[in-house]
Amino acid sequence: MPEASLNIAVIGAGPGGYAAAFLAADLGMQVTLIDPEANPGGVCLYRGCIPSKALLHVAKLIAESQQAKNWGIEFPPPKIDLARLRTWKESVVKKLTGGLGQLSKQRHVEYIQGRAAFTNSTTLRITKADSTEAVLTFDRIILATGSRPAIIPALKLASPRMMDSSGALALEDIPGSLLVVGGGYIGLELGSVYAALGTRVTVVEMLPGLLPGADRDLVLPLHKRLEKMFEAILLNTTVASLKEDGAGIRATFEGGAVQEKEKTFDRVLVSVGRKPNSEIPGLETTQVHVGPRGFIEVNKQLQTADPSIYAIGDVVGEPMLAHKASHEGRIAVEAIAGHKVAFEPNAIPAVVFTDPEVAWCGLTETQAEKENREIKVAKFPWAASGRAITLDRPEGMTKLIFDPQSERVLGVGIVGIGAGELIAEGVLAIEMAALASDIAMTIHPHPTLSETFMESAEVFFGTSTHVFRPKRG
């Protein structure tokens, strides 16, 4: 059987699932894509990356309109039409998911709105949205079932005031006060949206810093700005209990240097991480292995312990990022097509879309320290960037991490507006094994923030044009 005529199913149509399905179709396979939504997109498009970015764009506009006062332009406080904002956000989602639906049709991908259950390693019982059932057999099945917001049992409270990320994105109202449990990227992004809309936001983080895992020097400028935007950032603090009282939800805090041990909020957003959706009905009829943390175990070809089943994206492990899932999806399909491929990236970028944005890829300083690994770090402060000054946002910083012997770039970290866009160059540099000299000798356009990448490499040699920091020793 030539692989062109392979018959494959993809369960879950998020960025991992649809990328896999589309590539499989492009390679000539017969593809069935199964998802509960009307169109492909998954959490990312329906209740994640995309709607949150639409709202963050609005938040940034509001912030800039206020900042404009410093430049001699004053706007009255914004009038917020929540219904229209919602409609716009939903139109963005619709446009993108509809587009994906179109792309599925053009590729002759059989899109089934429904839920799938295994009856054996190659057979699925699919309950469609219209309640009809279908039993289909496939040569290969790709699991791309994603993840869902994690729940802390102690904080489980049946109240309409409680939200997870999906609830927060639904944007039912603009609460007067909001407690965000968890200082990770989801909590900070959504907290920023509500803060910009006028909500008094309190963030509680169990660990001593926001965005655990990111280098502290990258988080600092964001922390400073959020301190002004948010009502409070409570570190080293946990929420002991949540109780509904007449006026809202009463939260009790523990630990940290919290003065008020109790406080009432109009709404609570719990964003303490995500859990893999590995509880797929009938999975026990296959040989698929689920690890202790609920991730499906796969090899570098994304093949599970069941040779006919592959798994990609959030359900196979961290980082739970759409772009990692898409790449894995393509690798899985290429592996199925018989190509010799493996999921072995040198760098996976992470971006926090707050204002300023924080982005990093490859080796972090924190990780190098943990591994006791010798590195050289070169930082370029945006205060020396012409472009950052024109934008009145000089708090940013670009940082390159080098191997001291080969002078190869191993990691990149950026904080500042547009860091999410800038990081891509860092990923490319790492994947191409660029040396400090390669980056320093590549002409970057002036005046742009991208120059900070080039100048960081110049800092490495102690010869940055805009930073006087001669090499020591």
Partner: protein, 506 residues
Amino acid sequence: MESVIEFKLPVLGENIEQGDLVRLMIAPGATVSEGQTVMELETDKAVIEVPSSVSGTIKEILVKEGDKIKVGQVVFTADSNGASAAAVAQPPHQVEPSPKRAAAPPAKRPSGEQAAAAAKLQPSSLVQPPSQPLSQSAAPPARAAAAGEFRLQEPRLAFQAAIRAEGKTEEQALPPDQPRPRPAAFSMPAQLGKVAGTEHREAVPAAPHTRRLARELGVDIYEVKGAGPGGRIREDDVKAHAKALLTAVVSAAQTPPRAGHFVEPKLPDFAKWGKIERVSMRGVRRKTAEHLAESWNTIPHVTQHDRADITELEQLRARFAPKAEQAGGKMTVTAIALKVCAAALKVFPQFNASIDMEKTEIVYKQYIHIGVAADTDRGLLVPVIRDVDKKNIVELAVELSQLSQKARDKKITLADMEGGSFTITNLGGIGGTAFTPIVNHPEVAILGLSRSRIEPEWIGGKFEPRLILPLSLSYDHRLIDGADAARFLRWVAEAFEQPFLLSVQG
């Protein structure tokens, strides 16, 4: 999807590429379950039971007894039990409740052009590193799921066959505290669980395109030396590495035609002169032919003859025979010869050696393992007795009896016949006064024993009837000089005559 599965001959052990099917234990229509022995295969020198890796009802058997079967060859096809219920033997994409699907089948897209493009994308497997473990290789495309299942089982089958060849069961081979390989033994590389993509070895200084090229060529990118700045690995570095690997493989394949494999002169048409029958040269016979031709073509042979007076020894042998019998062995001349030769090999270490012409080195063995040629109905087999110098004659007699029995019962395993450093062959049981045995390459000497008989010996001015054992020592003249051979054989003869010598010098 059809639920027909194929059972292919799995890898049975190192260097075993094929075997002769001596016994088939299945028939069409019968059910077979995983782990069930389906046939006996005679490989070079051992008979191996081959277990099935699939379960189901046998549909068609594609081999017959007497066939030579190669690793990977399909042995039989079967209807898998598991899939039969679920798939209900329906064609793919059959939707039960919804007729819509059947009405509008997905358009057939792969045009000729696309198919060609897809074919072009196929990786050309130039060099497959031999070390690549089976379970990690990317899934071969387009195999029925059940066949994929089989692939997963392959390493385990190889393991089973290998330990079987050593005469062990899985339980014996694995220490008790080690987990048994589960049926679906899946070699899971370090899981992606933590942070996908960072669990593996550290980032390699090569662009994604270069890394993929390496993978396609079967080159481990981590073994490639990058000639670019900062050790960056370029496409050319990968190609050069692959080329070097290929050259190594090719030159290994082209090393001077191995002795024993040189082209035989063409045979005449025997049928011209009368009726003939051609019989396939199977298992032991074929291996013997190859091996002895190789020995003969490699080793410049010389045979030295001598005689040992074993009159006294025979009396001792008769006296101690019951002791050996009690222990379950037979005090034969061969058993005694083992002890004598072990002692002689210690005195003359160049007889317990091998020649490495490639490295122009002599390999002296610090152990004494002696093979004893056994005549069986399957042909010549040479079980090896280990550490002969550390065992007494009774122990040797017992072990020899057991091994010979094992050889005759076809229970002997490959491991029982490996690692010899010297060989003894005794034709005395049949007769003869002398012969010229062929050295068992890569050993360098072999001692032949013929029938001992009473002969008149001139002792003390008169003829006396003495029991004389004829000895024939063939040796590799590249390593052993004639004088040394004469000395060695004399030493052996004297040890037979005066067993006390064993205690003094041996």
